[in-house]
Structures are given as structure tokens and as C-alpha cells.
Symmetry: C2
Subunit: 144 residues, 2 copies
């Protein structure tokens, strides 16, 4: 039986995610570092970044228009912006082929892959608990 999440995340990535959980995290956690980590999470956890991350993890290398086509509802502006941010953060590479018409390929870096792996647990959680959350909302909305 096909298993979308298993095809989406490489076994290596999942192994690495387990590695993150199993090994000791850094000992230092002063407020400044905490703020930076929060900032970083805030940036990488936005809607479009997550979708691009997921898509590239699954598909490997894609060109600009292919990404735009496969992510529902994203505008060209937001796609460009998201890709630039991710490139700046070292999550993906942007390869411009000097041909006409222009062709630009995007692919995750190892850093991007590792982030995708780190988010694997959140994806699985969301998928697993979707029904529970919706039930909780229904209950909450019922009484007021």
C-alpha cells in the first residue's frame, strides 16, 4: 500500500530526525539565543515556506513555474519572496540556466533537507490529530 509520508520523507531524513531527538541538545540557552531561535522558527514556520519545503523534499529539483503550479493559491510575488528567503537562509539552491527562455531550478540543500526532517514530526502530528482538533473545535463552538 502506498504511503505518502514515507515517499515524502527519505529514510535518511527520518533517521536524522530521530538522531536529533536522541542526542543531547546544546547546553546553553540564554534569552538572546532563545529570541534568535524564536525568530528563526517564526520565519521558517510560515505557510508558504513549509509548503515549498515539503514539495521540494518530495520532488527533488523543480523550476520556478513548476513550484508555482503545484502550490495552490500562492501568488508569483509570494513565491519569489519565499524562495529568496529560503535561499538566503541556505535552505535551497537557485540555479539559473543561461538559456532562452530562462530556466531556474530550485533544490533543497542538505540544510533544507534536515529542516524538512525536523518538521516531519509536526506533519505526522497534524495528520494524526486533525480529527481530534476538529472535534475539540466543534465542542468549543457548541457551548457559548
Amino acid at each position: 500500500m502506498a504511503n505518502p509520508l514515507q515517499t515524502r520523507f527519505h529514510a535518511d531524513d527520518i533517521a536524522q530526525a530521530e538522531h536529533y531527538l536522541a542526542t543531547d541538545p546544546p547546553a546553553e540557552l540564554d534569552p538572546r539565543v532563545e529570541r534568535l531561535v524564536n525568530d528563526l522558527i517564526g520565519r521558517i514556520a510560515d505557510k508558504w515556506t513549509l509548503l515549498v519545503l515539503e514539495l521540494l523534499e518530495e520532488k527533488g529539483v523543480l523550476r520556478f513555474s513548476a513550484i508555482g503550479r503545484q502550490i495552490d493559491g500562492i501568488s508569483q510575488k509570494m513565491l519569489t519572496q519565499t524562495l529568496r528567503q529560503m535561499e538566503r537562509d541556505g535552505l535551497l539552491t537557485r540555479t539559473v540556466h543561461p538559456v532562452v527562455p530562462p530556466r531556474v531550478d530550485y533544490a533543497l540543500t542538505p540544510l533544507g533537507n534536515s529542516l524538512s526532517a525536523a518538521f516531519c514530526g509536526v506533519w505526522v502530528w497534524a495528520e494524526r490529530h486533525l480529527d481530534i482538533v476538529e472535534a475539540a473545535r466543534a465542542t468549543f463552538d457548541a457551548r457559548d
Copy 2:
């Protein structure tokens, strides 16, 4: 040596996060489910929700003002809004004590704890790769 992340995440939660990664995820992943999951992630991954989740995971039970005091920069409005959303999603419980002055306690539900555990991997990733990301940004910003 003290280890903030180990104190922040209970051993049980980490075990559960490993469980998520180790076991087979649900087989079905039609576009509708995918959209719902994306929505859900978009909601739970916002800045304040993440900070509240982290704080309550660490501290256990806290009252309204205590949360507001310990999360830097959050306004009363956003705190109320965030707590309501999380309560609606079943992530935390809101307990009103009928005393004067009023006292309202907030605590994570098992669902909230499991979400916190799922995000553990992302936290560790962010902490681990903070320097790499900042270096990537510096490199990116240098050439233009």
C-alpha cells in the same frame, strides 16, 4: 551540567515524538486532508502559540498574568486571542476560579503536550543550525 531542553521537554514527550517518527503514518493523503493539515500547521505555528506552548510545557500550570509577564512583547489582546485559539483547538485547558480577584489557570492538555513534543525536533534543529543559517545569510547579503 544543566540542560534546558531536557528540562523543557519531558522524557515521555520525547519518547512520544520518537514514536511518531518510528511508526507508520496514515496511508491516506488526499488534497483536502493536505489542505486541512496545512491550515492547522499555519495556525499552530504562529509566533505566540509556539511561545505559549513552550512556556506551559516548561512551567506546567500558569495564570493569565504570569504568562503575559514571561512572554516578552506580547500584548494583552494577543495573549487572550492566542489562549482562546489554543483552548478551542484542545491544546490547553482554561480553569476559572470563582474568587475575587478572579484567577484563571492555564495548562496544556495531553494533546498540547504531544504537539509540544512534535515541535521538539524543530526546536533542536533551530538551536543546532542557528549559526549555519546566520552564516548563510551573511554570505547571501555580501554578494549583491
